[in-house]
């Protein structure tokens, strides 16, 4: 029971921080609304494009490279999901776990080398 309370309280603090993090912008922007001027006219609300009239939609097709980086990120991020518990428990697991993890990481490194050779990591 004691531990449960401690646990709940600690996560309650996290929740308090979340509330406060949302509240501050909301309150500040609300007070800003009372203070700031409001003088609208047409040209103020155009999109900025170095002074010329904007043309085309700006949500254009993007270079696929961004997507490939995102894929690489997911692969290595999942790897860290496995690395963290391993690192915490390593003291008790010993040399066998080290070899296992080496094999696991080695397989992912092969993927990195493949991407490297395929010039995925090159940004031109």
């Amino acid at each position: 029971m004691e531990m449960l309370n401690l646990y709940q309280n600690n996560y309650l603090i996290v929740f308090v921080f979340l509330c406060l993090g949302i509240l501050l912008p909301v309150v500040a922007l609300f007070f800003g609304k009372l203070l700031r001027p409001y003088k609208p006219y047409e040209s103020k609300y155009t999109t900025y494009e170095s002074g010329i009239v904007p043309f085309h939609d700006s949500r254009v097709q993007f270079n696929v490279r961004y997507y490939i980086f995102a894929l690489m990120f997911v692969i290595f991020d999942v790897e860290t999901v496995f690395l963290y518990p391993w690192a915490v428990a390593y003291e008790k697991l010993g040399i066998f776990a080290l070899i296992e993890m080496l094999i696991f990481v080695f397989m992912l490194v092969i993927g990195l080398i493949y991407a490297w050779k395929k010039k995925v990591l090159k940004w031109t």
Partner: protein
């Protein structure tokens, strides 16, 4: 007193008390941001052989940032007609809220800490990733080409450097055997991790600068090529919240580096009579100063160099560091 509070059952009263305490921390952080911006301008000024702000608030310009914030509060709020209005409005909130949330787990001294959760380090890394979503949301909602370019660059950069950032702390986790930030500091009694994990520290520091979008990795908002990057269409206080998020992360990251590698509140040998809070403040200030120093000395890297450096240099080094640490731990156990 706080100890009893933590052990009492969680309810609305606890919520209220924690809320008030968190408001105090928020005010401290806002105070820090105010003077960090002033310090940045002053330090940069002196490094560039000029004075920096010296008009508002005495010869040290002590009220300069306060005046700037008030000015921002009085600025008109412009939302472009083509922008996606709801997303445009909530993007600064998404960017700011996690910046403040990460502060919940950082132990400032052995007594002064908010949430002491078992996975503190993981929590920091996980929550700080959400800011990228806020930045991309803001960039996409602006419906501006520069903003979208800046936002995509920011996303690519932040996810690329998050990997070495996470990998480089695995060495610290291996040595301390815990993800709890308190335990990590306690494990540094026999020497700070900057001594046992020099490679990890360097990789972490570089990746941290990149995560903070600071010079030399400030490509997402490169003034001279993208004008201002993802927040180009933002004005007034909405813009201020993106900036505030950036500086709150600055605070959080400097505190995290202090905790992970510089021994947090632990004193140097024979200087234990100086209280822990002072030690924390000293180390924290040193990290902040180094980050400011970076800004005035390094040129911006190119976009292609940025990506290749992250994936081809930092990631392999961070991976090698993990296994080097594990291997050395095994060897130490043998002898």
């Amino acid at each position: 007193m706080v100890e009893d509070l933590l052990h009492s059952s969680a309810g609305w009263l606890n919520f209220g008390i924690f809320f008030l305490l968190a408001v105090v921390l928020l005010l401290v952080v806002l105070g820090f941001v105010t003077y960090a911006i002033l310090a940045e301008r002053k330090v940069m000024g002196y490094m560039q052989m000029r004075h920096g702000p010296n008009q508002v608030g005495g010869r040290w310009g002590l009220l300069q940032t306060v005046a700037d914030v008030l000015k921002l509060l009085l600025k008109e709020d412009v939302i472009p007609k083509l922008a996606d209005r709801p997303l445009f409005i909530i993007a600064p909130v998404i960017a700011f809220a996690p910046a403040f949330m990460v502060l919940a787990t950082i132990p400032f001294t052995d007594k002064f800490q908010f949430a002491d959760i078992g996975v503190g380090l993981l929590y920091y890394i996980a929550v700080s990733g959400i800011t990228t979503v806020g930045i991309v949301t803001g960039a996409w909602a602006s419906n501006n080409k520069y903003a979208l370019l800046g936002g995509m660059r920011a996303a690519a950069q932040m996810i690329s450097y998050e990997i070495p950032l996470i990998m480089s702390v695995v060495g610290v986790v291996l040595l301390s055997g815990s993800l709890n930030l308190n335990d990590i500091v306690e494990a540094q009694k026999n020497g700070w991790f900057i001594v046992w994990q020099p490679i990890g520290f360097i990789v972490f520091f570089i990746a941290a600068v990149a995560e903070l979008n600071r010079v030399p990795f400030d490509l997402p908002e490169a003034e001279s090529e993208l004008i201002a990057g993802f927040h180009i269409e933002y004005s007034g206080f909405r813009w201020a919240f993106f900036m505030l998020a950036e500086y709150v992360y600055f605070f959080a990251m400097a505190a995290l580096i202090t905790v992970l590698f510089l021994g947090g509140w632990l004193p140097l040998p024979f200087l234990g009579f100086i209280p822990g809070a002072v030690w924390f403040a000293l180390k924290f200030t040193a990290v902040v100063f180094i980050l400011l120093w970076f800004r005035s000395t390094f040129p911006r890297v190119r976009a292609d160099q940025l990506m290749e450096f992250g994936w081809k240099v930092l990631l392999p080094i961070a991976l090698a560091n993990i296994f080097l640490t594990a291997l050395i731990m095994e060897l130490v156990k043998l002898f």
